[in-house]
């Protein structure tokens, strides 16, 4: 009876959305494999009602690892915690969120257990009972399907916003097993967090992104895009040209040396569409391009576009959206 386990990502004791997304996919694969079950591994302090909620979201069995070492995030301590839970649960497959924390932890766990890790997966299939994962490579210029050798568990990190959480089922119950761990020598530990500008969602989590490119001409003109972002509840992005020119921080960069994004709507403003930029955003559901140059490559992949001067078009769009969204 194969077990698909999910490593919960906890924030202030509550599971982040990626955990629920992974539970949904684990549930689907468990059903597909016949008699599979879904395990959940939680590392560190968890809110009292959280185990129940995670059961409603699809977990059959919860392994809650506790110990002083897990009070804050430290890769070495969390890897030790994950290992302790995995020895107890013995799952065939372990999912970890492809988040900042998950991507930091997963290689540690894989290396400690000497098992294969497929990063940033976006699709899973079972072929004769064997798991195959699909993942973007070259920032989405291509896709590769990955399989594991016989070592277990197979580990995969899953890209956020890929799967949809299940509707909570309050009749579901999960058995909770406590797994204690002793002190762990962690030689790197998170000591603080600094929030970045505004209250925008992270690019990788955003539903709508408005990105500016070379045609923004300078940092001051990004104000135009910030206004549009505000009206749409969007997150501000940028092309490499704009970042390398020093107009905006690198954390905003979309593309092969920036973030790979897949929002519902992506506005490319004054972005010609260099191949390394297209790689990072071409899986967006709807792409809207605004560019003076009718022949700009961005129009080849755009769902909608306006050929025009962004300094005229963007303020008008902002105004029109404001009116439309008020109605």
């Amino acid at each position: 009876m194969p077990m698909f386990a999910v490593l919960a990502e906890l924030k202030d004791g509550a599971a982040r959305k990626i955990t629920l997304e992974m539970l949904a996919e684990a549930r689907r694969l468990a059903a597909l494999s016949g008699s599979g079950s879904v395990g959940l591994i939680a590392l560190g302090p968890m809110a009292p009602e959280e185990a129940e909620r995670l059961a409603h979201q699809g977990a059959d069995r919860i392994y809650h690892v506790e110990g002083e070492a897990l009070a804050g995030y430290a890769a070495e301590a969390h890897a030790e915690g994950a290992k302790a839970a995995l020895e107890r649960a013995k799952p065939d497959t372990l999912f970890i969120g492809a988040t900042s924390q998950g991507k930091d932890l997963a290689p540690r766990v894989a290396a400690r257990l000497r098992v294969g890790l497929a990063s940033d997966c976006t699709e899973f299939t079972l072929q004769n009972g064997d798991l195959v994962a699909r993942r973007p490579i070259y920032a989405g210029k291509a896709f590769g399907r990955v399989a594991w050798n016989a070592a277990r568990p197979r580990i995969a990190t899953i890209r956020p916003n890929t799967f949809t959480p299940l509707e909570p089922d309050s009749s579901r119950k999960a058995q909770v097993e406590k797994v204690p761990i002793g002190p762990v020598k962690a030689r790197a530990r998170v000591a603080g967090f600094e929030r970045s500008e505004g209250e925008m969602l992270d690019l990788t989590e955003a539903n709508i992104i408005v990105s500016g490119g070379r045609a923004m001409q300078g940092p001051e003109n990004f104000e135009l895009l910030r206004k549009l972002c505000k009206v749409l509840g969007a997150t501000l992005g940028a092309s490499r040209a704009a970042v390398d020119a020093g107009w905006i921080d690198h954390s905003h960069q979309v593309g092969q040396t920036g973030k790979v994004v897949n929002p519902t709507v992506y506005f490319a403003v004054g972005i010609s569409g260099a191949i390394q930029h297209l790689a990072g955003m071409s899986s967006s559901r709807t792409i809207v391009a605004i560019n003076k140059d009718k022949d700009a490559p961005i129009f080849k992949i755009a769902s909608y576009g306006i050929v025009g001067d962004l300094y005229q078009v963007v303020p008008l769009l902002t105004e029109e959206f404001e009116r439309a969204l008020k109605e």
Partner: protein, 262 residues
């Protein structure tokens, strides 16, 4: 301070990826040092310059062409380079690669190890962190800021996370994986380029490293690619031209009322 920088050679980011015989076609690819590794090299050089002493050694695993990536790092100012011969190594498997890199690190000795946060080819984001585990070192990944206190054997790193930056306190030696934003990489000087010509880049085989070929070969690989595909082409879009006021109004109508995505 003895600093190691592991550099990977990858196709330039302007490369249009094509498939041939079921694999990524690399025939006409322009190979470059992985962009994130450039930040790693730069940071290593700056630390050496700040301390006024130390050595930066650049190491790359792969076929003979990776020597070009090593030479590039030497032209920027790295002191030494080592080429790890990739024959018989499952180069797509981060566990296999990190096993070889760890052996090289042990042979070279180190006080600090850098890699890029990920290779822009397979995008695993694993090798540097696995290397830390194999060398029994702490690591900090996706680093955009770094302060070291070598006498106290400590450091503080800033790493990029969702919605902001985390501060991580760590002990030295450690593995740091570099993210864009950590620094502004320099360009090679003419003097640097000329100096490379005099440098000898030693080649180390698995035997030189004491690595059992069976432990890092295809048969031992924990993961493998089954097949590759390209993204499907996007359908042609609706491109509006004309008066800005009209096109803006029409676009908002389409997105809001027709496509209903906003």
């Amino acid at each position: 301070m003895n600093i190691l920088v592991f550099v990977k050679q990858v196709p330039d980011t302007e490369t249009r990826i094509q498939l041939k015989d079921g694999a990524v076609d690399t025939t006409n690819v322009k190979w470059v040092a992985n962009p994130y590794d450039e930040f790693a090299i730069e940071e290593a050089l700056r630390i050496r310059e700040r301390l006024g002493q130390g050595k930066v050694t650049v190491v790359s695993l792969g076929p003979d062409r990776v020597k070009e990536a090593i030479k590039y790092a030497l032209s920027l100012g790295a002191d030494e380079g080592v080429h790890l011969k990739g024959d018989g190594v499952a180069l797509w498997d981060p566990l296999a690669v990190a096993t070889v890199l760890a052996a090289a690190a042990r042979k070279l000795g180190f006080d600090l190890v850098f890699t890029g946060k990920q290779g822009v080819d397979n995008d695993w984001s694993q090798t540097g962190i696995i290397l830390a585990e194999f060398l029994d070192l702490p690591h900090v990944s996706v680093v955009v800021g770094l302060e070291l206190d070598p006498p106290a054997k400590r450091g503080v790193a800033k790493r990029e996370v969702e919605g902001g930056a985390e501060t991580v306190e760590f002990e030295l030696p450690a593995v740091i994986t570099a993210q864009k934003g950590l620094n502004e990489p320099r360009y090679a000087s003419l003097k640097g380029i000329m100096a490379v010509k005099k440098k000898v880049i030693p080649e180390w085989t698995l035997a030189d490293l004491g690595v059992d070929p069976a432990s890092v070969g295809e048969g031992a690989a924990a993961i493998r690619f089954v097949d590759f595909s390209l993204p499907p082409p996007r359908p042609a879009g609706r491109i509006l031209e004309g008066e800005p006021k009209e096109t803006a109004r029409e676009l908002v109508r389409i997105l809001h009322e027709e496509a209903k995505v906003i």
